[in-house]
């Protein structure tokens, strides 16, 4: 498909945003916008949208990929990617006051409203897997493309062993009453747990482990998959427990783990549900073994919670896998500088895209969508297909053919809409901050290798 040249985008954004001084270093010469020539005579309006949790407890995460998606649209407009057609962008918030953050019901309502607008050709989002569960059927019924920057639940796209677990209970087939219109640019928890198992057994050299989970779809799923792959690697799970997110102390289970000789603790879940508190209680119990978590643990709150106990530097030496540290990728450097230039006037931390691991994912997801739309227009003689539904179907078909080089590197989608660009970075808390150690990739037969 269309492979944009980085220089085009950055020059375009400079022109569009009038921030000449901030990023005037790009040098790649380009003459014209990719594919725009054939569609200069395009007329009509095309709308793209993002759906993220922007307020409440998720205000620290969701706005970043939303701003990144908006930046992609701004650049496409400056770049005349849609030729003579008008490109509009709508930002939806799936948070509610009631949930103090992402709310699946609000997500479904947002997609329903967007689908009712015949000019909407695709949505970047959602951020949370639980919201995806309620949005995917709506998008599928309306043939609307949905590209998530951050959903890692494997059962959203394919049936794996854990989908039938009572805690997760996701019937993948029932999510798609219509065509399969859902894609994601982030690898799923299957890959993450394979890497977690490898890290626990081969990197941390823990041959016995005690596993916690937070009883939620993400955490429970990750823990179950982790145990499966950890055992396959040769490790022994000495015990496991599912505790509700409201649990305030973990000392009872840690004493059990200690008595069973666990050499490490794995936590499947989020910091809000106790990942940092487990680490805090390990300090009180005098347990000098590593704690490993998934991307739900890799945040500042983990460090705050872990250090809140009697040992004020207890967080040091904790491990978590998370989205690849894209700030280290050469391909993302341009994007982050463009982001910083475009949003210099936003209050911190939103003026710095590197403050959130999923920012670049929002940017690539929107660019992939925009280029799919562009290729449909080009393929249709520069004009939008006559019916909205045909247009949407064509966009989904174009998305399947995606071969895009963006901030994240090279992205293509498999038959389930999952990205083939997998990889997770192992982070370690050092002097009170998460620091990337290595990035691991996993192939289709489950072999883990160091990527960078």
């Amino acid at each position: 498909m269309v492979k944009p040249t980085k220089g085009v985008l950055s020059i375009a954004s400079i022109a569009a945003l009038g921030v000449l001084a901030a990023c005037g270093t790009t040098s790649t010469p380009t003459s014209s916008s990719a594919g725009a020539t054939g569609i200069a005579g395009c007329h009509g309006t095309i709308t793209v949208a993002s759906d993220m949790p922007l307020t409440g407890g998720d205000a620290t995460d969701g706005p970043f990929p939303a701003y990144a998606a908006q930046l992609a649209v701004t650049q496409a407009n400056a770049n005349k990617l849609m030729g003579g057609c008008t490109l509009k962008y709508i930002s939806k918030d799936d948070s509610t006051v009631l949930k103090n953050g992402h709310d699946p019901a609000q997500g479904a309502a947002n997609i329903t409203a967007l689908a009712a607008d015949p000019t909407v050709m695709g949505v970047v989002g959602p951020f949370n897997s639980s919201v995806a569960l309620s949005e995917i059927p709506v998008a599928s019924r309306n043939h609307l493309a949905l590209i998530s920057p951050a959903n890692t639940n494997p059962c959203l796209t394919a049936v794996v062993a854990v989908c039938s677990d009572p805690t997760i209970a996701i019937n993948t087939a029932s999510l798609y009453p219509g065509p399969h219109t859902y894609f994601r640019v982030i690898a799923s928890d299957v890959q993450q747990s394979e890497i977690d198992a490898y890290v626990a057994y081969s990197v941390l050299k823990a041959h016995t482990i005690y596993v916690f989970d937070d009883q939620e779809a993400y955490g429970r799923g990750l823990a179950l998959l982790f145990m499966k792959y950890y055992k396959a690697d040769g490790g022994s799970v000495v015990g496991s427990v599912s505790l509700p997110g409201a649990t305030t102390t973990f000392s009872t289970q840690l004493s059990v783990a200690q008595s069973k000789g666990a050499q490490a603790i794995f936590f499947g879940g989020t910091t809000g549900n106790g990942c940092g508190l487990v680490r805090r209680d390990m300090g009180s119990a005098g347990m000098n073994i590593p704690l490993l978590g998934g991307d739900g643990c890799e945040d500042q709150l983990f460090i705050t919670n872990a250090n809140s106990g009697a040992k004020t530097s207890e967080a040091n030496g904790s491990y978590a896998t998370s989205a690849p540290d894209v700030t280290k990728l050469a391909s993302s450097a341009t994007f982050f500088s463009q982001y910083a230039a475009a949003y210099a006037s936003l209050p911190a931390p939103y003026n710095n895209g590197t403050k959130e691991p999923y920012t670049a994912y929002g940017y690539d997801a929107m660019n992939i969508l925009l280029h799919a739309i562009n290729s449909v227009l080009v393929g249709n003689g520069g004009q939008p297909p006559s019916s909205s539904q045909t247009f949407r179907d064509d966009v989904v078909a174009a998305l399947r053919q995606t071969s895009y080089d963006g901030a994240l590197g090279h992205t293509t989608f498999d038959a389930n809409g999952d990205t083939t660009n997998t990889g997770f970075t192992l982070y370690k808390v050092t002097n009170g901050a998460w620091v990337g150690v290595n990035t691991y990739a996993v192939d289709t037969s489950g072999n883990v290798s160091v990527k960078s």
Partner: protein
């Protein structure tokens, strides 16, 4: 408020005037049925009745046996080290439950209201303690020397307790006083309302995440080691302070004029009024003391765990309420003992059959108590009234 207390029916003369109202613990309906329709049930009813009375009379012994068995089971599972660690965990948890349970039991004893806002008073007190410690720079004082620690404790405990006590009095004055003679359901509903109100205010003010108190570093280090079980100074502090406060309260209720007024108001409000006791003042004092103990529990919690969150008091409150029912609601000694028993059940249940069952176990116990021994372990025999 000791043995007889305000449990409905425990002092039939005192509460007789209000037995028509809705009560949570309405023992009148909980005894064995006397008439059965079918002959089969007619035949087995005596067996059921016998079993019921057997369990009901020996409830405490059965529960104790269960706890001892689970401690022994833990010993078989993980040896003396695991058993010792879990006993330590249980006592620490139990001490906090006990202090919170006393607030529930005192309020229930005197006005027969389950003060659902009590758990949230606990949480608010945690934030009071943070505010006081930060404003007066107690964190650096407490970690400077042993004398500094004592001074910091001597400042943070009374100030948080007074602040919480005043909060409790304000809640009583605003939400419960005017409803004192309304049907029992009315103050129960306002209690739930106050609980949500407090939680909402804390969520907005303090945010959705855990807030670090900075007090976990006040007390540090291992006091002594038994086998491989390291007992920290914090563990001793938690349990010791809780016991000290409970004995102080016991002495206060037994020995002082106000304590006597509280006991008589609990037994019979009208008679107490006739004897010249200022009912409003007595009830306010009860709320003050109950809330102050919740604040003490919150300070202990803050020093032990180091984090407070806007909604931690909710679950903790319900579990502490179960402890109060277990001990016999209205009975102060019962609430204290109940708190420690619930701590043991929570920890050893969680250790033996998995932590996911801890809370289910606690509430199963609540159902069993209400079925078999609604007056609790330290109340009077249910059969004398059934």
């Amino acid at each position: 408020m000791s043995d007889q207390s305000g449990t409905p029916g425990a002092a039939p003369g005192g509460t007789g005037g209000r037995t028509g109202a809705v009560t949570l613990v309405d023992q009148g309906n909980l005894g064995p049925r006397t008439s059965e329709g079918s002959s089969f049930f007619g035949a087995v009813t005596p067996i059921f009745r016998f079993l019921y009375s057997l369990i009901s009379k020996n409830f405490g012994a059965l529960l104790l046996a269960l706890i001892v068995l689970s401690i022994f089971g833990t010993f078989l599972q993980g040896g003396a080290t695991l058993m010792g660690n879990q006993i330590k965990n249980a006592l620490v948890l139990g001490a906090i439950y006990a202090l919170v349970a006393i607030g529930y039991t005192m309020v229930y004893g005197i006005i027969e209201l389950i003060n659902f806002a009590h758990g949230d008073v606990f949480t608010v007190s945690g934030f009071y303690a943070i505010f006081i410690a930060n404003t007066l720079h107690l964190n650096s004082l407490a970690t400077s020397s042993f004398g500094g620690l004592l001074l910091a404790l001597a400042i943070v405990f009374p100030l948080s307790m007074i602040a919480a006590g005043l909060t409790g009095m304000a809640i009583e004055f605003v939400a419960y006083r005017r409803l004192r003679d309304a049907p029992r359901l009315a103050p129960l509903i306002t209690a739930i309302g106050v609980s949500f109100l407090i939680e909402g205010v804390m969520l907005v003010r303090e945010g959705p995440d855990y807030v670090t108190t900075g007090q976990a570093s006040w007390i540090n280090g291992t006091a002594f080691t038994i086998g491989k079980v390291a007992v920290g100074y914090t563990d001793l502090f938690v349990v010791g302070t809780a016991l000290l406060l409970m004995f102080a309260l016991g002495a206060f209720v037994q020995r002082t004029r106000l304590g006597k007024a509280m006991r008589s108001t609990a037994q019979d409000r009208t008679a107490a009024l006739l004897c010249g006791i200022d009912i409003n003042r007595t009830i306010s004092a009860t709320f003050f003391i109950g809330s102050a103990l919740a604040a003490a529990a919150a300070v202990i919690y803050s020093i032990n765990y180091g984090d407070v969150k806007w909604n931690i008091g909710f679950r903790l409150g319900i579990i502490a309420f179960t402890a109060a029912v277990l001990g016999g609601i209205g009975n102060i000694v019962g609430a204290g003992v109940g708190g420690f028993l619930i701590g043991l059940i929570y920890v050893f249940g969680g250790s033996l059959i998995g932590g996911a069952w801890s809370e289910a176990l606690i509430f199963a116990i609540l159902v069993l108590i209400l079925t078999f021994r609604p007056v609790g372990l330290f109340g009077v025999e249910v059969t004398t009234r059934a």
